[in-house]
Symmetry: C2
Subunit: 247 residues, 2 copies
DNA sequence: CGAGTTCTTGACAGTGATCAAGCGACGTGG
DNA sequence: CCACGTCGCTTGATCACTGTCAAGAACTCG
């Protein structure tokens, strides 16, 4: 048996307590008492480790659970019959993956770890059962799904209406905002995904993404060195993304 | 008081019974007994009529209810600060509108009737309350939201990876398939939306949409006359949409 | 250190946007 | 019933953004 597999089993046997998790505010409902919180610990069955490049689940696989990212970074993507791939999202700590599987009882996209990662496995039957008992959890589940719908609406706006540089500016601002909410810098970040993956998400080719990065660099808006990015002038980025009124 | 308003009030006072609605299979869970079904009638508070061009709700408005389309046709759209508009979906009988409002307690898009329409108003607190009582309704609500997420994933693929003609082919096939599921023809349809609205949804300009329609017409794949469309060769459309492998 | 991958940059091409004009359908009022 | 105005649709000509192809540089990892 491979060492990773053994580690997985050991880890899985450790009972995880949401009530004791520092990501609680991100993936669980806020503002209710410790007793309820401890009952809610039951939504999480186990943890699971995913090595970089491995799949958490793949399209077509039976749906049983949704997953909360504990550590690491994921992408989700769908692919068409002729092999074209579309990245539909990037997920970081505290975010939920797998909601696409509910409708058909089968996953509808692939979820791939962009770096070594760990997730909380939440069997959806547990989620539903506890939701019936705790209105606050029920409401939370609905909000998580609604948030995903709203996010995808924004992506549609981005893909349907924005130019390459606007898309990249919006992408960077969104990423840094989410990282900042997790206590990281609001000006520096290390991209976990390739230019090609960014391009797929933004509906652009990798060369176009690379050129936009270079242009922002030349203009002094950001500093780029491969996957390291420092945002020098966030206001300039916001201006690019909000509108090109002179056009 | 305007006649329409009086009509609205009269209509609203008529108690609507889902258990007696011929759209039941489309917007309510299937396969449970009459008694439960009658209790589920409580999810719908009233009906509401919306005249062509009027808004069912607008972005920013407080969220209280989701809506099931009974008759008519809607579009939902988001707009950016600088006034660019993105159509995020078209909804027909049996489809649910308003799920975007759950996350922030405020609607996040505009819902506009493309023809005179009627909706069932389902206060979301009713939905949540009954969901706790009826697991089958709970599951149904989750599926409806999940379906919307999956649909938006497909739109992202369309906007990110497909060419103009592929997008239009996919759009027509999807539309006719949904109409057929409602007992209408699988080869003829009357578009309820303008070229500009189709273009907004597909991330194209209206001229491009028009040209693609004309091209399909010249090739004998469809017959187009303004908003009337007849699909002559559905297989050709499917081929266009699935892949352009010779490219 | 070398092989492979990822990123950058340049030259050129193509799809779809833009600008513009004309057509056709529909509704209103004479 | 027809004239007229409006709005939506079609079509043509041109332009530009982004894609494609290609080569080389930089980084990663065994």
């Amino acid at each position: 048996m491979k060492p990773e597999v053994i580690q997985d089993i050991v880890l899985a046997s450790v009972k995880v307590a949401c009530s004791d998790c520092n990501l609680r505010e991100l993936c669980m409902p806020v503002g209710f008492n410790l007793e309820d919180m401890q009952k809610l610990d039951e939504v999480v069955a186990t943890r699971r480790r995913i090595a970089q490049g491995e799949m958490l689940f793949r399209s077509g696989e039976a749906f049983t659970s949704i997953y909360a990212v504990r550590t690491g970074f994921f992408k989700t993507c769908v692919s068409s019959e002729d092999g074209r791939e579309q990245v539909t999202g990037f997920q970081m700590a505290g975010e939920i993956i797998g909601l696409d599987g509910i409708v058909s009882d089968h996953h509808n996209c692939n979820a791939i770890a962009l770096e070594d990662a760990e997730v909380c496995v939440m069997p959806f039957s547990n989620v539903e059962e506890l939701s019936r008992e705790f209105p606050v959890l029920q409401r939370h589940v609905h909000k998580v799904m609604s948030r995903e719908i709203v996010r995808e609406n924004s992506v549609m706006m981005l893909l349907g209406n924005m130019r390459a540089e606007e898309r990249l500016a919006a992408f960077l601002l969104n990423l840094v905002q989410r990282l900042h909410a997790r206590g990281l810098s609001q000006s520096e970040l290390v991209l976990r995904m390739s230019r090609e993956e960014i391009g797929s998400y933004l509906g652009l080719k990798l060369e176009t993404v690379s050129r936009a990065f270079s242009k922002f660099g030349e203009e002094g808006i950001i500093e780029v060195k491969q996957r390291y990015v420092r945002i020098i002038e966030p206001e300039a980025l916001k201006k690019i993304f909000k509108a090109q009124l002179d056009y």
